[in-house]
C-alpha cells in the first residue's frame, strides 16, 4: 500500500470524518483550515513548533526497554515510547503547542478546551500561560471528581475550569459545551480540540501535531535495535496518541498496528467505551465514525476506569484503518488495565496513566504468544500521577 493519503480536501477519511456542524461554525472551520494550510507550508512555523517541543516539552521522549517485565512474560520484548516524560505528563502537549501557535498566528487571545482525564486541559492551560492567553476548560462534573489533582493544576496555571452538568457529565458533554462556547465567542476564541476527532480540519491537525511520536520512534528503534518493531500498541480514547504513533508506520510493511479501547466491565456487558469493537458508524461532534449508539441513534453512556478513554466515538482515521484492515482494534477491561498498572509500577518503576495501562495490558497479554526476538512497541502515552486517587479508591483507601 503506497497510496495512503488521507484526508481528502473536505476532510474525509474514506467514508469517515467530514464537517458535520451547524452553519455558524462553518466559517470558523474554513478559516482554521486555511490558516493551517499556510502554517503547514511555512518552515518558520515548524521551526518554532520543534523548538518548543525540545526546550519546553523535553523532546525527544526516549524509548525504553522494559526488560524485567518482558522477561517475566517470557515472550516478545516490550519497549515503551516514553510520552509520560513530557512536560505536563502526557502526549497531549504535542498537540496543544501546535494549536496554540496556530491560535497566535490567527490573533486569538482566548482559548477553550474540553478535557476528560484533565491531561488535555492541563496541557491547554500550560500553553495558554506560556503564550499569554486566557484559557477556559470544560470538564464533565463526573471527571472533575475523578481527576481532582488535574483540576487544581489547571487552576494553578491560571485557567478557569467549568464543570459540565449535562448528559453523562463526562468527556462527550464537555465537548458539547466547548462547541457551544465556541459558537458564541467565535470571533475571539480558538478551540484547542484535544484528540484526533471533531470536524475537519481537527482530526488531520491533531494527527499532524502528534506524528512526532511515531517519527521519533522510527528513528530511535533503528538506532537502538537496528530494526522496526513487529507490533505497535497504543490506547485509543479519541485516538490522538494512537494515530500519532501509527501514522508514520502505516506504510511500513510488517509492522502490526494495534489500538486498544476501553473494555470497561467487558464488551459483552455493554458497559464499556469501545466503539470500534462494538459500535456502528454514526455522526457525532462534527464527524462520521464508529460510535456507541442505541437503535434510535442516541449516544450510549460509556464506562471506563480511565476518564481519558471514556468517550463514545473515535477519531475518523481509526475507523478507516479498521475498515481497510491496516490496524486492528481490541478491548481491555478495567481489571486487566489495573493489573498492568500495578505490574508496570512494580516491575519497571514507572507509574503509567490508566489510559496507557490499557495498551500495556494488551502488550502483556500478547507478548507470551510471540517469540523472544520479536518486539512490541507500546506508546506509554502518559504518567499515572493524576490517577493515584482513583487507584487508591479502588484499593479501598483515601489519600
Amino acid at each position: 500500500m503506497s497510496s495512503y493519503d488521507f484526508p481528502d480536501a473536505r476532510g474525509h477519511f474514506g467514508p469517515y470524518g467530514g464537517v458535520y456542524v451547524a452553519e455558524t461554525l462553518m466559517a470558523a472551520l474554513d478559516e482554521l483550515n486555511a490558516e493551517y494550510a499556510r502554517a503547514k507550508a511555512d518552515p518558520a512555523f515548524w521551526q518554532e513548533y520543534h523548538y518548543e517541543l525540545k526546550h519546553f516539552v523535553g523532546r525527544p521522549s526516549p524509548i525504553y526497554h522494559a526488560k524485567r517485565w518482558s522477561e517475566q512474560l517470557g515472550g516478545a520484548q516490550i519497549y515503551f515510547k516514553r510520552e509520560d516524560l513530557n512536560h505536563t505528563g502526557a502526549h497531549k502537549v504535542n498537540n496543544t503547542i501546535g494549536q496554540a501557535l496556530l491560535a497566535r498566528r490567527m490573533g486569538k487571545k482566548r482559548v477553550i478546551a474540553e478535557t476528560g482525564a484533565g491531561q488535555h486541559g492541563v496541557a491547554s492551560a500550560t500553553v495558554a500561560a506560556r503564550y499569554g492567553m486566557e484559557c477556559v476548560v470544560y470538564m464533565g462534573s463526573e471527571d472533575v471528581k475523578r481527576q481532582a489533582p488535574n483540576v487544581f493544576r489547571m487552576k494553578l496555571l491560571g485557567a478557569t475550569v467549568v464543570p459540565v452538568e449535562s448528559g453523562s457529565k463526562t468527556l462527550k458533554d464537555a465537548l458539547n459545551e466547548a462547541m457551544r462556547d465556541w459558537v458564541t465567542n467565535i470571533d475571539s476564541t480558538f478551540y484547542i480540540l484535544g484528540t484526533a476527532a471533531g470536524p475537519h480540519p481537527y482530526p488531520m491537525l491533531v494527527r499532524d501535531f502528534q506524528r512526532i511520536i511515531g517519527i521519533e520512534a522510527k528513528e530511535q528503534m533503528q538506532e537502538m535495535v537496528g530494526r522496526q518493531p513487529d507490533m505497535v500498541v497504543a490506547c485509543v480514547g479519541g485516538g490522538s496518541n494512537a494515530i500519532g504513533i501509527f501514522h508514520p508506520y502505516v506504510e511500513v510493511e510488517g509492522v502490526r498496528l494495534v489500538g486498544v479501547e476501553a473494555g470497561g466491565d467487558g464488551v459483552a456487558t455493554g458497559r464499556h467505551a469501545a466503539p470500534l469493537s462494538a459500535g456502528k458508524p454514526g455522526v457525532l461532534h462534527g464527524f462520521r465514525s464508529y460510535l456507541m449508539q442505541d437503535e434510535n441513534g442516541q449516544i450510549i453512556e460509556t464506562h471506563s476506569v480511565s476518564a481519558g478513554l471514556d468517550y463514545p466515538g473515535v477519531g475518523p482515521e481509526h475507523s478507516l484503518l479498521k475498515d481497510i484492515g491496516r490496524a486492528e482494534y481490541v478491548a481491555i477491561n478495567d481489571d486487566e488495565a489495573l493489573k498492568a498498572f500495578e505490574d508496570c509500577c512494580h516491575l519497571e518503576g514507572i507509574i503509567p496513566a490508566l489510559e496507557s495501562s490499557h495498551a500495556l495490558a494488551y502488550a502483556a497479554k500478547i507478548a507470551p504468544t510471540m517469540a523472544k526476538d520479536q518486539i512490541i512497541l507500546v506508546n506509554l502515552s502518559g504518567r499515572g500521577d493524576k490517577d493515584i486517587n482513583t487507584v487508591a479508591g479502588l484499593m479501598g483507601l483515601t489519600l
Binding site: 473536505r10 467530514g18 464537517v19 458535520y20 456542524v21 451547524a22 452553519e23 455558524t24 461554525l25 462553518m26 466559517a27 470558523a28 449535562s166 448528559g167 462527550k172 458533554d173 458539547n176 462547541m179 457551544r180 459558537v183 458564541t184 465567542n185 467565535i186 470571533d187 456502528k280 454514526g282 455522526v283 457525532l284 461532534h285 462534527g286 462520521r288 460510535l291 449508539q293 437503535e295 434510535n296 441513534g297 442516541q298 449516544i299
Partner: protein, 264 residues
C-alpha cells in the same frame, strides 16, 4: 406546490408573516405532543417545527437540552416522532410540519427509509442542524425524491459564497440564525438582523425565517418587519417546562396567540 410553499404564498397574499413555533417531540411526555401541536395551531402557528430528541444537542442552549432530556426519559425515538406526526395529520392536513434535529437519528434509520417514512407520515420539511450543504447531498436527494423540503441554516458568519451555495439547495424556506450562539441565547441584535436579511434577499428565492433568541412579542414584531417568518423555540419550551401536563396546552396556545398578534 408543497404544503410549506402554499402556506407562504397564502400569507404573502394576505400581507402576513408566518409564526413558526418549535417544540420538542415527547416533551414533557409523548402522550401530550399531538395535543400540544394542535394547541400551537389554535394559537395561530403557520408552520410547526417539531424537534427530534437527541442525547447530544450541541447547538442548543440549556432550555432545549432539557426538553430533549425529558423526552429521552420516555425513550422517544425518531419513529415515535413520525408516529406523532401521523396522528396529528388525522385532524390537520393544512399546517406544515418541519422536523428539526441532529443527523445521527436520521443516519441510523437510513436516509431513504427515513425520507419515505417521513413523507408517508405527513412531514413536509427536514432541518438537520449538524448537516451543512457540504455533507448534505445524499440526504437532500433522498428528501427531494420523497417530496420533502430540505431546510438549511444561514448564520451571521456565513460568507456570500456559501449563501449562494445554500440558496441553490434550499427548499421551503431558509432559517436565518439571528445570533452567534446556541438556541435561547440573549444577545440578539435586531438592527443587524434586519440588515442581513435585506442583503440575503438578493440571493434567495425561498422565504426567510429568523430564529434563535426571540423571546417576546416585541422582538418577534421587530424581526417580522424584515423576515417572512419568526421562529420561537426556547420561550415556548420554557412555558411547557413551567406548566403542568394539564395546563400546558392552554398556556402554549395563549402564548402563541400573543406572538401571532404581535407579528400580524
Amino acid at each position: 406546490m408543497s404544503r410549506i410553499a402554499e402556506t407562504f404564498t397564502r400569507l404573502q397574499a394576505a400581507g402576513e408573516k408566518a409564526l413558526i413555533p418549535f417544540i420538542t417531540a415527547g416533551d414533557p411526555n409523548p402522550g401530550l405532543t399531538v395535543s400540544l401541536m394542535h394547541g400551537l395551531v389554535e394559537g395561530g402557528a403557520d408552520v410547526i417545527e417539531l424537534g427530534i430528541p437527541f442525547s447530544d444537542p450541541m447547538a442548543d442552549g440549556p432550555v432545549i437540552q432539557r426538553a430533549s432530556e425529558r423526552a429521552l426519559l420516555h425513550k422517544v425515538g425518531l419513529r415515535n416522532v413520525l408516529g406523532m406526526v401521523r396522528e396529528f395529520r388525522r385532524s390537520n392536513q393544512q399546517t406544515p410540519v418541519v422536523l428539526m434535529g441532529y443527523l445521527n437519528p436520521v443516519h441510523v434509520l437510513g436516509y431513504e427509509v427515513f425520507a419515505q417514512e417521513a413523507a408517508a407520515a405527513g412531514v413536509d420539511g427536514v432541518l438537520t442542524v449538524d448537516c451543512p450543504p457540504e455533507e448534505a447531498a445524499e440526504l437532500s436527494a433522498a428528501l427531494i425524491a420523497a417530496k420533502l423540503d430540505p431546510v438549511f441554516l444561514i448564520a451571521p458568519t456565513t460568507p456570500l459564497a456559501r449563501v449562494k451555495q445554500i440558496a441553490a439547495l434550499a427548499r421551503g424556506y431558509v432559517y436565518y440564525v439571528s445570533l452567534k450562539g446556541v438556541t435561547g441565547a440573549g444577545n440578539l441584535d435586531i438592527d443587524d438582523v434586519a440588515r442581513k436579511i435585506a442583503a440575503l434577499r438578493e440571493f434567495l428565492d425561498v422565504p426567510i425565517g429568523v430564529g434563535f433568541g426571540i423571546r417576546d412579542a416585541e422582538t418577534a414584531r421587530a424581526i417580522s418587519t424584515a423576515a417572512d417568518a419568526v421562529v420561537v423555540g426556547s420561550r415556548l419550551v420554557q412555558e411547557i417546562e413551567a406548566a403542568t401536563p394539564e395546563t400546558a396546552k392552554e398556556q402554549l396556545t395563549r402564548l402563541v396567540a400573543s406572538l401571532k398578534d404581535a407579528i400580524r
